[in-house]
């Protein structure tokens, strides 16, 4: 594949161009593993088990979802966590040998090795329903704009800045739509190009 990360342009988790952390290799504390696009390495359980410098640990990942969104640690009880390339984390429903050579392993959930970790649209759709914090519930027209990939003014949000879960009410319950970046009164949609839809 031409893209070293193995992501097609329409890939499920392309970063929106507005991503303040960009796609560039990360800062001085990150000594990344080689960027072999097929190699998945299982995350160490804790910092004491860490061999590869800069690699996030399972404990850190579970705590991050809990602290940032209130997603309970037991949500991940059946999943192993893996790093492919530089900081892209995947959740897999089983346990397989590490490292494993594959084109994909479960669901890409999180971009790490940058100042602000960024969850993926697909992770938030699958697991974000358990969130209790940093969930922005959008009105009908706002949700349509968000799914289209548009940025919008949203001064009424008084929660944290940064990556939030955008959600809306549909079919009788609140359902996550994707990941927004809230900055300076504006909600930016990070829905990847291949997932955007005109739902108006």
């Amino acid at each position: 594949m031409s893209d070293p990360d193995g992501d097609a342009p329409e890939g499920p988790d392309g970063d929106a161009p507005e991503d303040p952390n960009g796609d560039a290799p990360e800062g001085p504390d990150a000594a990344p593993p080689d960027n072999d696009s097929h190699r998945f390495d299982r995350l160490p359980a804790t910092a004491a088990d860490r061999v590869v410098p800069g690699r996030p640990t399972r404990a850190e990942v579970v705590a991050w979802w809990d602290e940032r969104y209130g997603i309970p640690p037991e949500t991940w009880g059946g999943h192993t966590f893996w790093e492919r390339g530089n900081g892209k984390l995947w959740a897999f429903a089983g346990a397989v040998v590490t490292p494993v050579d594959a084109e994909g392993l479960g669901l890409r959930i999180l971009r790490t090795r940058q100042e602000h970790w960024k969850p993926s649209t697909n992770a938030v759709q699958r697991f974000g329903g358990a969130a209790t914090r940093n969930v922005v519930v959008l009105e009908r027209d706002e949700a349509v704009r968000f799914a289209r990939g548009d940025d919008q003014e949203l001064p009424r949000w008084d929660g944290d800045w940064g990556y939030v879960i955008a959600a809306h009410e549909t079919a009788g319950a609140v359902e996550p739509i994707g990941v927004g970046l809230y900055l300076h009164g504006e909600l930016r949609s990070t829905v990847p190009k291949g997932r955007r839809e005109e739902l108006g």
Binding site: E10, V100, G104, Q125
Partner: protein, 312 residues
Amino acid sequence: MRPPQRYASLVDDFDAFRAACDRPLPSVVRVNTLKASVDRARRALDDAGVGYEAVEWHPGLFRLDERGPGTSWPYFHGWLHGQEEVSTLPALALDPQPGEVVWDACAAPGSKATQLSALMDDEGVVIGNDNNLGRLSALRHNAERLGITNLAVTNQDARNFSLKPFGDRGTDPERIEQFDRALVDAPCSCEGTIRKNPDAFEEWSLGHVEGVAGVQRGILRRAVDATRPGGTVVYSTCTFAPEENEAVLDHVLDRGDCEVVAWEPPAGFETDPGVTEWGEETYDPAVERAHRVYPHRNDTGGFFCAKLEVTA
């Protein structure tokens, strides 16, 4: 002789068969039960004003009044996946259980692999393989949109599929050495897709049928070899040619390490038995346990599906 006339001797009501082949296929979606219940998906379709009718023989399949589910909230949320009605059969026949290790030998673009994951409640491992790297990106995209976490994607020639990347012949306790179940939804001449690909008969050639049958035999042999004794292998195609169906089964049955077992599709879905004679050829009588699906029986595409048990 070319299709459809080629199969006049196999089909009871050939006029109805030919007429069905000329009709366009309804657009069908499957509810992704990993993300939404059938009831909630139905409510979302109602709220969105999308017209549909439920498929009688399979809860969670809806025939849409209009083409394409792509522009509705339930689709955006990954609650729905466009999948031809008849192509849900092989995963039902395979009947994978949560926690098992399952191989989908020709998995892209992923309708059946993602259905396997849903049937397993996203627990265990589905190894979704395809030899076509371009189609693999569609598989990954579909699996991620549906929120599936138990799918490992590989890019190998299924005929020589190796479990070495998963630790086979090693000592790691988490290695995978064989499958509990395997699905071979084989590349084929696609005669049964005539209702959505009107060129399917035009592009037909006996040379292609015979060539692809060699590939089919190779993949099915590998699936039987890589599946544990007592495990299940399902063989399916979307074509009518006995060379690609019963003849392929006959070939693996000759090796003596598997048998065709009885399996009934859900009530209300009508099939015809596999054929034991075709031209000069005769096949193992057990191939009658396979299912031929003709388009006029259930108003679907054409299909073939057989369930095998590995015995050694």
